[in-house]
């Protein structure tokens, strides 16, 4: 006896859902709904079945049906507010969101930052608790500093490991492009997954202390080709200039205070040098992608063309990208093949950034151009005898216009990943991933002989070139088995990895502008720094009763950077996860859709930032500029190099406790994590007993650092209706890092000076010291008069010895924010979507080096150099007679609230009469506003020292997206 099942699938508002898949569990029958949401399954034997209905973005519906002849059903799906069955990428595998045991945050393409995004990491700015992405400035394609939980190192690297489609990418900078990630087209990226605690990261072993970012790129789709074209066109404007005196104010001041010689150096012009070196800059970014399936071969091809102008005149980046992804499945889906290649070519023109500070300082009473044609026709300071004043600042417009620094960089990276699940044992699958990442950068810096910036050396003609090649081989076996007899699941992974990084830096002679007269010749034609890593790793996840999850990982890494005795490091982790909402007492509670407790502990390592061969006793051979004359001959010098044969891994222990929660079917969800990180064997450049080695300092394993933090994320959908929805996302981070040891022998008074400042030689403004935040400012305490005006050169005599010496300095604040907050929201009403991202750092301080260097009487009246300069307007507040570099006056509170993005999008839907053509139009403003007490150009600064900062522009973007 047979019958049939038919019916209609509708959404939560009763609208039909076309294309939903409907299947009968256990008998391998299925179909999908038509455009009216209707389906029909014929010839079904009478009996009882479980019908499964699924549709992307909706919760899977399972319902019992009894067939006895014709059976009609009406099925209503409920949208997924939080997709707990969503698959999350973890190191070497995937896991369902609800089973994740580590502290992992995912940002997928729908949540990315919008607007003119040219490098991938900018997609997640402000989106993830515990992750700080700070763009390094407004230069086209300029990189960002990424810090996950504040980083774990002092002197080695604090950059996280970035893995794209399973291939760790090099963070080494290749010349000719400002940032290695800038070579990757953000439009090709599907998801960012940030691994934060040791349970998530420890499988990456020795490279995981600073967190891991997994990036997956977009893949081929099934079905007919779908074509997507997007175009973003924008204008970048200078959001804020440094507030300097006007030409009239300079004239007034100099005439009132300057010597006759200096008064004679005033011109009659009114030049705003910042206006002269900055501009409004247009950018166009166009992307085309085609994805579909051809003869069972899912594919995606993509092309991108970016043409971005910088706000500093002449600055430009042109980038073409092409990507191909093939994702065929063979042997009944037992063999999955993923093949990816991404190529890019960037052509850059790098503007001379000296003009940024030059424009602040240069005298506004003179016009840009001089009457005659020397020095390229630009006004320059001359000595009374008519020759170029060697000590004067240079015309910033001339400095930019007459320096041609152009580079081009090619990069190709790709991988072939084979995943085979064994026919005889489908629970076991083998995965092999072979990847490469090669890049080549080269360029020429040319300065003509007449340019004042290189006048004394008759111009400049230098070439540079280097190549980077990284190769990766990974192979692992994964066994995943439900053992229903004991209500358990076992998921085990074991693997091997090999990583080779090789850079070749070419050395060229440098020439004068004529390209013939040699200034210097290199001793060696090239250098090939190289390092390799060999790894074995394993992971076991045991799940009991679907609610108790025990997870453990171990990785052992061997690095070429260490001697045989220290070469291998072992990095374990363990975690326990309790899915509380699966417990009987909570089951069936609709209000609570997810509640999970995660506890983890693990050890990770860190070796980036260590020289490749620092354990070896070597001799360096001096170069052509460092020879010594004996008799009439100049000899190269062979020098023994300082080394530490005992150098080894830096290790970080991380304790993490977290809760994942979801209410109201996930309409409110999020997580809370608290952590403590303890780094030991901290790679620190420490003073060693002088005379014991061939340097006074050595990078060695001493030092400890601790960080405590809290992270909180909340996502909510207060309104979720067909034509009206509202999304909110909020994250909060508290992180406090302190140095707990710095020296081989305990000494509380010891500190390491860091943080070079501009303006005088050898001055450092920050220090690492015991029980302080790293990079704390170490300054003199300014004394103020009754009216609150700082007194020039008067400081508090903290040690009371009657004079102000280095001993009177004290620790005052640090550039690390105490709290970071991110807030994203979007409101959709019919076809319109309004969205914004806001971000705030609280408790971070900045050293205003622009003012400390360019706002004193000796700057405006520079008798030593024989010029008159402009000064920062802050000079009117201080009236300092000479520069006071070490005054705590210049350490400013840089807490801020920023609106990163404000966007409005209109989804026109299908605009073609025949066929399908979807159109979305969007308008965005980036860097909308900054609220901060800091009076400099931008309070957000990853080093905490503000000088020559390429301003982040305010950008107005108009975009359109067409889909076929």
């Amino acid at each position: 006896q047979t019958g049939s099942i038919s019916g209609q699938v509708v959404d939560e508002k009763g609208q039909p859902l076309p294309g939903a898949s409907v299947s009968i569990k256990n008998i391998n029958r299925g179909t999908s709904t038509d455009e009216k949401g209707v389906f029909r399954l014929n010839a079904v034997a009478n009996g009882s079945y479980v019908l499964t209905v699924s549709f992307i973005g909706y919760q899977v519906l399972e319902t019992q049906v009894t067939v006895n002849g014709e059976k009609r059903v009406a099925l209503k799906l409920v949208p997924n507010a939080q997709n707990l069955t969503e698959v999350v990428v973890i190191g070497y595998g995937t896991q369902r969101r609800k089973e994740v045991t580590g502290s992992i945050s995912t940002v997928s393409s729908k949540d990315f930052q919008k607007g003119n995004i040219t490098t991938p990491e900018q997609l997640i700015v402000g989106k993830v608790a515990g992750v700080q992405v700070t763009t390094n400035g407004g230069q086209p394609g300029s990189g960002s500093t990424i810090r996950i939980r504040g980083g774990a190192s002092l002197n080695a690297s604090n950059d996280p490991l970035i893995v794209i489609d399973g291939v760790p990418v090099s963070n080494a900078t290749i010349p000719g492009v400002s940032n290695p990630l800038a070579m990757i087209n953000p439009n090709d990226i599907e998801t960012f997954t940030v691994l934060k605690d040791a349970n998530a990261t420890a499988i990456y072993g020795s490279r995981a202390s600073n967190g891991v970012i997994l990036i997956t790129t977009k893949k081929g789709k099934s079905g007919a080709p779908s074509i997507n074209f997007s175009s973003q066109n924008s204008i970048a404007t200078v959001a804020k200039k440094v507030d300097v005196l006007t030409a009239d104010e300079v004239r007034t001041y100099v005439n009132a205070n300057g010597s006759d010689a200096l008064k004679a150096l005033l011109g009659t012009a009114n030049t705003d040098w910042q206006d002269e070196v900055f501009r409004n800059a247009a950018t166009t970014d166009n992307n085309l992608s085609i994805s579909g399936t051809s003869k069972n071969m899912p594919y995606r091809v993509s092309f991108g063309y970016l043409n971005q102008n910088g706000t500093l005149i002449t600055d430009k980046l042109e980038r073409g990208t092409a990507g191909l992804s093939l994702n065929p499945r063979f042997l009944d889906n037992h063999l999955k093949v993923d093949f990816n290649v991404k190529n890019s070519l960037a052509i850059s023109q790098f503007a001379n950034q000296d003009a940024i500070s030059g424009a602040v300082q240069f005298n506004p009473t003179w016009a840009v151009n001089s009457a005659n044609s020397t020095y390229g026709g630009y006004f320059e300071w001359l000595r009374p005898d008519g020759t170029l004043n060697p000590n004067a600042p240079r015309n910033p417009v001339g400095a930019v216009r007459l320096k041609d620094d152009s580079g081009n960089t090619m990069r190709s990276f790709g991988n072939l990943q084979l995943d085979y699940s064994f026919h005889f044992l489908p629970e076991l699958h083998a995965n092999v991933n072979v990847g490469y990442d090669v890049s080549r950068g080269k360029g020429i810096v040319y300065i003509p002989a007449e340019a004042a910036i290189s006048f004394s050396t008759r111009g400049n003609y230098n070439r540079y070139k280097s190549t980077i090649s990284n190769n990766v081989v990974e192979a692992y076996l994964n066994y995943n088995k439900d053992i229903s007899s004991i209500n358990s699941n076992i998921n085990a992974t074991a693997g091997y990895g090999y990583y080779a990084n090789r850079t070749k830096n070419y050395n060229f002679a440098s020439y004068e502008a004529d390209g013939k007269t040699v200034k210097s010749t290199p001793k060696f034609p090239f250098d090939i720094p190289e390092n390799r890593l060999l790894s074995y790793y394993g992971r076991l996840i045991y799940t009991l009763n679907n609610r108790y999850i025990f997870s453990g990982t171990v990785r052992t890494d061997g690095s070429s950077r260490f001697s045989e005795d220290n070469r291998w490091g072992v990095f374990p982790s363990a975690a326990f996860t309790w899915r509380i909402n699966e417990e009987g007492f909570l089951k069936g509670t609709n209000a609570l859709s997810d509640l999970k407790l995660r506890l983890s502990y693990g050890v990770t390592g860190q070796q980036e930032g260590i020289a490749n061969y620092s354990y070896l006793s070597n001799y360096s051979v001096s170069n052509n500029e460092a020879m010594y004359q004996i008799g009439d001959t100049y000899y190269y010098m062979n020098a023994p190099v300082a080394y530490d044969e005992d150098i080894k891994w830096e290790t970080t222990e991380t304790y993490n406790a977290g809760i994942d929660y979801g209410f109201l079917n996930g309409r409110i969800n999020g997580s809370i994590d608290v952590y403590r990180k303890k780094t030991k064997d901290l790679l620190s450049v420490i003073p060693i007993p002088i005379g014991s080695n061939f340097s006074n300092q050595l990078l060695t394993n001493v030092g400890n650092m601790e960080a405590d933090g809290v992270e909180l994320a909340i996502n909510a959908k207060p309104i979720l209706k067909k034509d009206f929805s509202w999304d909110l996302g909020f994250n909060f981070t508290y992180n406090k890092t302190k140095v707990t040891n710095l020296t081989a022998s305990y000494n509380p008074d010891y500190m390491v000076s860091v943080g070079d400042i501009t303006g005088s030689t050898g001055n450092k403004i920050q220090a690492h010291a015991l029980n302080r935040s790293p990079f704390s400012y170490y300054v003199w305490k300014q004394v103020y008069d009754e009216s609150g005006k700082p007194l020039s050169g008067v400081y508090a005599d903290l040690d009371g010895d009657g004079t102000i010496t280095e001993a009177d300095k004290y620790f005052y604040k640090s550039p690390l924010p105490k709290y970071s907050l991110g807030f994203s929201t979007s409101v959709s009403l019919r076809k319109w979507t309004l969205s914004t991202v806001l971000r705030s750092n609280i408790g971070n301080y900045i050293y205003d080096n622009v003012s400390s260097n360019l706002s004193s009487r000796t700057v405006i009246l520079d008798a030593t150099s024989g010029v008159v300069n402009n000064v920062v307007r802050d000079f009117l507040n201080t009236g300092f007679s000479a520069n006071q570099y070490y005054s705590d006056y210049y350490v400013k509170n840089a807490s801020f609230l920023k609106m990163d993005n404000l966007g409005l999008a209109y989804d026109a839907g299908n605009i073609a009469r025949n066929g399908k053509m979807n159109l979305t139009i969007s308008a965005n403003v980036q860097n909308v506003f900054v609220i901060s007490d800091y009076e400099g150009v931008d309070p957000e600064n990853n080093k905490g020292i503000d000088y020559k900062f390429y301003p982040r522009p305010r950008t107005y973007v108009l975009g359109l997206n067409v889909g076929f």
Binding site: N391, T457, Y613, N623, A626, Y628, Y634, S692, N693
Partner: protein
């Protein structure tokens, strides 16, 4: 596969390769010497001494700053620099965290550790095992003796500046272990014994820039002259004896033109210099060395091109009034050693370069007025005299005047040789002299050559409140210094890192 982890650098070489043949020893001894001429093996932006501006850890710049800035001869305008370190020297307010003190101390010990490594590789057994024999092997023995002289020279300086520094020889192992501290008295014995031991091992004459027996005697003479300061036991007999050995060797004579001793081509036709540090604007670049001495003494107003530094002139160092006053009417004196610029000898604000007369004794121009080849128009080719005959005349005269055995008449003759060169005739000659006259004559003859602090201490004038200069002790009118200021503090970072060190008293 595990073999894949054994990687070696492309251009560096291992110790065995570095000393594989005689040329390797040549390059090794070049570093023994070059450590006091260059900041590092890789140009001017890196330093053998880590953690600070490469210019601050240059040998001559550090030596000169520590010997001249806290005295009546010089003051530096850059009081904001080096984290207050320059101000600390200008005002005699140096503290153990002063980076300039660290730079000098670390540079001296760095050169000593390079010497030690060279000596470890230069034993007879190692040289023989590398198949080097005959003249080459003999030359390596000379190299080794010269290296020991360089080490003794640096230890003498450490003893003079710091008193009780760490002590390492080729017997110590390379690693992280704390060296032992040595007392000033013991170090005196060591330096003396080394200099005496290598005397027979050194050459009588040698290539330009290399150590000879005369350099050994010259350092012994200097050492003995100050023995009272170092050990409490005077050795004026020995001082006179070794000064006389240099003088009577007949190998050196006064350069006929005083000014040419300090010019860009002073490596040529220079009969007076016993040992020099050699610089070159192209091949031996440095932001310290004579590049510093010349550039820091000139500012834009003075026309840097006129000093062979067309793109230089940093406007930092100039004299305090005491120095020109040694010449009396310094503008109209016949004494050609008075080489000053400017018209404001007094200093009321130490940060203003134009207060105090500029000293134009050192220049990068050659004796014919040419500018030597230089990258960027800043680096200088002028060599710096570490030992020259004139000093030996003065040591002899002072030792005799202080009661050492010798002839007062001979001493007077030596002084008058210097004065005749200075005046061009006998009009400046003396008929008699006192011990104090020698200090003034040293000021006129040897100013800005790195002697002043040692000289003032020997004469008891460095810390005294009866001999003052502007901003001595940080006070405009000058004041006496605490007695412990006659020694520099050991750098704080080394006192912490080296558990065997005890800080000098008073710091």
């Amino acid at each position: 596969c595990k073999k894949d982890l054994d990687l070696t650098p492309t251009n560096d070489i291992t110790g065995d390769k570095a000393y594989a043949d005689f040329n390797g020893y040549r390059s090794g001894v070049a570093k023994v010497y070059g450590s006091y001429a260059t900041p590092s093996n890789t140009g001017t932006n890196t330093s053998d001494v880590a953690g600070q501006d490469p210019g601050f850890a240059d040998f001559l710049r550090g030596y000169w700053n520590l010997q001249e800035l806290p005295t009546d001869e010089a003051a530096c305008a850059w009081i904001g620099d080096a984290g207050g370190g320059i101000q600390g020297l200008d005002y005699n307010s140096y503290v153990p965290s002063n980076v300039l003190i660290l730079g000098m101390y670390a540079r001296s010990l760095y050169q000593i550790s390079v010497v030690n490594e060279f000596l470890r590789e230069s034993t007879d057994a190692k040289v023989a095992s590398r198949g080097i024999s005959g003249n080459d092997a003999q030359e390596i023995k000379y190299f080794a003796a010269e290296a020991r002289f360089i080490r003794a020279f640096q230890y003498w300086l450490l003893m003079d500046l710091f008193g009780n520094p760490p002590f390492i020889t080729e017997e110590n192992k390379v690693g992280k272990e704390s060296p032992q501290q040595i007392t000033r008295a013991k170090l005196f014995e060591y330096v003396e014994s080394e200099l005496l031991a290598i005397e027979p091992l050194l050459k009588e004459t040698n290539e330009y820039g290399r150590v000879t027996k005369a350099a050994d005697w010259a350092l012994l003479a200097r050492l003995y002259l100050n023995a009272g300061v170092y050990t409490g036991t005077i050795k004026y007999n020995e001082a006179a004896q070794y000064a006389a050995k240099v003088i009577s060797s007949g190998r050196y004579s006064l350069h006929p033109v005083y000014a040419n001793l300090f010019k860009g081509d002073n490596d040529k036709n220079n009969p007076e210099v016993i040992l020099s540090i050699n610089y070159d604007g192209v091949k031996t670049q440095n932001y310290g060395g004579t590049t510093y001495l010349i550039n820091a003494a000139v500012n834009g107003d003075m026309g840097p091109a006129g000093f062979g530094i067309p793109n230089g002139g940093w406007g930092g160092n100039r004299s305090r009034p005491n120095l020109p006053n040694l010449f009396g009417d310094y503008k109209n004196t016949k004494d050609k050693r008075a080489m000053f610029w400017g018209d404001t000898p007094n200093i009321t604000d130490i940060s203003v370069f134009k207060q105090g007369l500029a000293v134009v004794k050192f220049t990068n121009l050659t004796s014919t007025g040419a500018t030597p080849a230089s990258v960027g128009g800043t680096y200088c080719s002028t060599d710096f005299p570490l030992f020259r005959l004139a000093e030996m005349y003065l040591v002899y005269a002072e030792a005799v005047a202080r009661g050492g055995s010798g002839s007062t008449a001979t001493a007077l003759g030596y002084l008058n040789l210097l004065r005749q060169r200075a005046y061009g005739d006998a009009s400046g000659n003396l008929s008699s002299f006192t011990v104090d006259d020698i200090l003034n004559e040293r000021g006129r003859e040897l100013y800005w050559e790195g002697f002043r602090r040692t000289d003032l201490i020997r004469y008891g004038k460095y810390t005294s409140d009866s001999y003052l200069w502007p901003f001595k002790g940080g006070v405009a009118s000058g004041r006496g210094l605490e007695a412990h200021k006659a020694l520099y503090p050991l750098p704080i970072s080394d006192v912490i890192a080296n558990t065997n060190l005890t800080q000098n008293p008073g710091y």
